[in-house]
């Protein structure tokens, strides 16, 4: 009994010690905390980035990385995290947060910078690719210098922009801003092709080209050519412009449309079009079929105009023969003779106007064949009675009144 009590007495402190020990174990703070051992805040793109955390107890932790183009999470048992390549190669701020069992225990950020050596390529954008001569219009030469990992180089990177045009070769040095280096390249007085290139560090770009087109045409002259001055409705008159030039003396672009406006003495307007080749446009138009005087002016619509020229066309005939047969029911016109008393070329228009009681009954139109035109007035259509006739060709008119058809 004594013995037992003695044991009990011994046991009690041991139990106490143990229980206190256990208490200490159980109540030991489970709070996990981390400190970042890596002091480097700025890294070069493409270099390995390792983030080392010191944890107050070993635990599995997750590092959440948030970048320009996305986010991911990596896990580590020992607090050392190697940032994946697709992140460490890209420029920009990277936010990171360390988690343990969904609890955030650390957060911070690092900055990844573009490499300034070993530039991979120079991306160039030039536009518009065609501009107008004269020094008012311009194109933009934009360069996006990037490093080997396609990161835009930082602001204030030196960019050399060059261009060549005819005998001019120019070079400009500038500093990039907002990822790009750019310059407005103005046109010269002459038209032609401009070549552009750029250089960043030791890397040079490809050759790029833009077209400088002539500017707008200035006032120009027109001339006319014709085979004869007769209004035969058969030959063609050709109008030709002088070489259309812009204010800098460049002949304007091929294919510019020129409109020739022709006004006769009655104010009727005829029109012919032509487009330029080597600065010259031609327009063609049939001679009138009656005596007329034309005023001709050419336009590049809305842009430029020519002088006005006048052309007079004289009538090819003064008179023509008309014969009535078959009780006036058959009317034979002709032979119609032209200016040299030759037969008028086929196709001359002859109009017959038939009046009854001073009102137009019908107008018949026929074209000549071998200088002749025949009109027949059938009984079924023209009851017997009194009619007036008016016959017209090549601007000459003849009238027959009180013709009795039977």
């Amino acid at each position: 009994m004594d013995q037992k009590q003695k044991y009990n007495k011994l046991l009690l402190p041991i139990v106490l010690i143990f229980s206190v020990g256990f208490c200490a174990l159980i109540s030991r703070p489970k709070e996990i905390s981390a400190t970042l051992l890596t002091t480097q805040k700025t890294f070069l793109a493409g270099n390995e980035i390792a983030l080392d955390f010191k944890l107050n107890m070993p635990a599995q932790t997750q590092l959440f990385l948030h970048t320009s183009l996305g986010a991911t999470s990596i896990t580590s048992e020992n607090g050392r995290f190697i940032v994946p390549e697709f992140i460490s190669r890209k420029k920009g701020h990277v936010d990171f947060q360390l988690y343990h069992n969904s609890e955030r225990i650390f957060q911070g950020k690092i900055n990844i910078k573009a490499r300034n050596k070993g530039i991979k390529e120079i991306e160039t954008y030039i536009g518009p690719t065609s501009i107008i001569a004269g020094g008012k219009d311009f194109t933009m030469h934009i360069v996006i210098p990037t490093d080997a990992y396609d990161n835009p180089l930082p602001d204030s990177t030196t960019v050399q922009l060059k261009h060549q045009f005819l005998e001019n070769e120019k070079e400009k040095t500038l500093y990039s801003k907002d990822m790009i280096g750019w310059s407005a390249v103005y046109s010269y007085a002459k038209s032609g092709r401009m070549l552009l290139s750029s250089k960043v560090d030791q890397t040079t770009s490809k050759e790029h080209s833009i077209d400088i087109f002539p500017s707008l045409p200035e006032k120009f002259e027109i001339t006319s050519q014709r085979e004869h001055p007769y209004a035969d409705g058969n030959q063609i008159t050709t109008f030709t412009t002088s070489i259309l030039k812009d204010e800098y003396g460049n002949s304007i672009s091929d294919g510019t449309l020129v409109t020739f406006l022709i006004k006769d003495e009655k104010g009727l307007i005829l029109r012919a079009n032509g487009s330029t080749i080597h600065g010259i446009a031609t327009g063609k138009i049939l001679h009138p079929d009656h005596q007329s005087t034309w005023e001709i002016q050419a336009f590049v619509p809305g842009v430029a105009e020519s002088n006005t020229i006048r052309l007079a066309y004289t009538s090819v005939l003064n008179n023509f023969k008309v014969a009535f047969t078959n009780n006036y029911r058959k009317i034979t016109v002709g032979p119609i003779l032209s200016f040299m008393e030759q037969l008028i070329p086929n196709g001359a228009i002859v109009k017959l106007k038939i009046f009854q009681n001073h009102a137009v009954h019908e107008t018949k139109v026929k074209t000549s064949l071998d200088g002749m035109v025949i009109f027949e007035l059938e009984e079924g259509f023209y009851a017997s009675g009194t009619y007036d006739f008016e016959i017209e060709t090549m601007g000459v008119e003849k009238t027959y009144t009180n013709i009795k058809l039977q």
Partner: protein, 516 residues
């Protein structure tokens, strides 16, 4: 025997004949309907595709003056559309590992790191549900040929919920600045470079007018301490469909008179999310709400307006749409004197199970931030359905609101325990008893019992100056299925919570709508 056989044969022949005919007709009809199928005739009209709005963060164009060339409004619109689409397709890609949209909105060299990142996330089953809530964009450069633009987007607030498999591992948010270079390719403005930068912007918060404010655990309106004595209000004829064709301001006006006469000073109303037009709030609905608020102001009643009624998505990708919904309503009425508080959502804790507690809470938290930005003048609360949830987001709201439909005898104990843990004003936002004795509830509560219940509650309120809003003014003839489900005894119960019965007679409880 023979005649029986004959009958059997006859029946067999007739049924097989009918069967064959049926099959034949069926076959012919199938062939005909197959031949009739084809392109939808409307497709001949080449109607433009209606793009469903899925992502509407707040975009502000800060400054479009740039050294390149002036930018046209139409171009700005196109850039904004494509730039936001670029964000959206990336969010989809990181959520579902579906990179199909990336090719449209990122140039080839910009796609590469995204694909690599998604590939890794897919391997590790990391899915990131994210959205951005605001963009403040300025144009740094726009090229002469209109093919290249550089933007700076400041203070981009990104919310991210990170899942490992099905499990949400954490939520986080970042505010960053981005500089972006976009190229116009094939009619799309595509991102060529996007660089995240440290956030240098600081949001300006407009100073509140202080139409209502909270100091300690007291509510103040126009610098006077305010004791909420209120009721949850629906017109009798149009419960849960207040802003439809049946909207009648005269009816509402008369009801407000009844409430005011009874000694109440506050009504709680509900603004249904879909009915109001989701992300594009309809003006007609806003006008009706305006009439109601003006009327309340005229009658001297304050309004607690409960937003997002019948809303239940909460997913991160849906956030921006709900932000636009709230923006349009809240900014319209930010100076309205009748409003006491915006109640973000009615009983959101009931969605914890189906939508995930973290999702619901994150949505609420961000919504509170958004609404405060749109309207710093009014208070904010959340109508929790039970007293246990009331303490959630206590630091984010101005007023702690909860609903109580449990035993009346336990109320004081529950209330005091909440009060001891909470420093903000507490509002009992819904309570009531249905006098539903009848066919569906033979042993239900009688109208007398209901009156007694309210009398008892009012005694408690008087003793402890408790802010209260009861449920509800009227007994309803019809209760829509979305409210309590389609079970008739449930509907029946919901029909009889009123102080005035469906015939318009005051029930005994009417006397105890408030204390004096």
């Amino acid at each position: 025997m023979r005649s029986r056989n004959k009958k059997i044969y006859r029946i067999l022949i007739i049924t097989s004949f009918i069967g064959v005919i049926t099959l034949l007709l069926f076959g012919i009809s199938q062939v005909l309907s197959y031949l009739n199928t084809g392109a939808d005739r409307a497709s001949m009209l080449h109607l433009p595709l209606v793009q469903e709005e899925v992502y509407l963060p707040k975009v502000i164009w800060k400054d479009t003056i740039n050294p390149g060339r002036p930018i046209e409004d139409q171009t700005l619109k196109n850039i904004q559309k494509d730039y936001l689409n670029a964000w959206y397709v990336r969010q989809i890609a990181y959520q579902n590992y579906d990179a199909s949209g990336i090719k449209d909105y990122y140039t080839e060299s910009a796609q590469l790191p995204i694909f690599q990142n998604i590939e890794v996330n897919k391997e590790k089953e990391i899915s990131i549900h994210s959205t951005t809530t605001n963009h403040n964009i300025s144009v740094d450069f726009y090229s002469a040929d209109g093919q290249l633009v550089v933007l700076t987007d400041k203070g981009v607030k990104e919310h991210q919920h990170v899942y490992q498999g099905e499990k949400l591992i954490f939520q986080t948010e970042f505010t960053s600045d981005y500089q972006t270079l976009l190229l116009l390719e094939d009619g799309f403005w595509r991102i060529r470079h996007i660089i995240k930068e440290a956030n240098a912007s600081n949001e300006t918060v407009s100073t509140p007018l202080g139409i209502a404010k909270v100091v300690g655990d007291k509510i103040y309106v126009a610098d006077q301490e305010y004791q909420v004595k209120g009721i949850n209000y629906y017109p009798q004829k149009t419960p849960w469909a207040m802003y439809g064709d049946g909207f009648d301001i005269e009816v509402i006006s008369q009801d407000f008179d009844i409430l005011k006469k009874a000694g109440l000073n506050t009504v709680r109303i509900f603004i249904p999310y879909e009915d109001f037009g989701k992300a594009r709030v309809q003006n007609t609905k806003l006008e009706k709400l305006q009439h109601l608020l003006d009327k309340a102001n005229e009658k001297g009643l304050k309004v607690i307006a409960t937003l997002f009624d019948f809303y239940g998505d909460y997913s991160v990708l849906d956030w921006t749409l709900t932000h636009r919904h709230a923006e349009q309503i809240v900014t319209t009425f930010k100076n309205h004197k009748a409003i006491l508080a915006w109640d973000i959502k009615n009983e959101p804790n009931l969605d914890f199970e189906s939508r995930g507690e973290e999702n619901v809470l994150a949505w609420l938290k961000e919504m509170i931030i958004q609404i405060r930005k749109f309207d710093p003048n009014h208070l904010i609360t959340i109508g929790w359905s039970d007293i246990k949830s009331a303490i959630l987001l206590e630091n984010n709201v101005d007023i702690v609101s909860f609903h109580y439909y449990m035993e009346i005898d336990d109320f004081e104990e529950h209330y005091l325990s909440l009060k001891s843990r909470c420093t903000k004003p507490i509002v009992l936002q819904e309570f009531g008893l249905s006098s539903n004795q009848g066919f569906w509830a033979p042993f239900g509560v009688s109208e007398k019992k209901q009156a007694k219940y309210h009398q008892q509650f009012q005694e408690i309120f008087r003793g402890r100056d408790i802010h209260f809003l009861s449920w509800t003014l009227y007994d309803f003839e019809e209760v829509p299925g979305e409210v309590v489900g389609s079970l008739p005894w449930r509907k029946h119960k919901q029909k009889h919570f009123g102080f005035i019965d469906s015939q318009g007679n005051k029930k005994p409880a009417f006397e105890f709508m408030t204390y004096h």
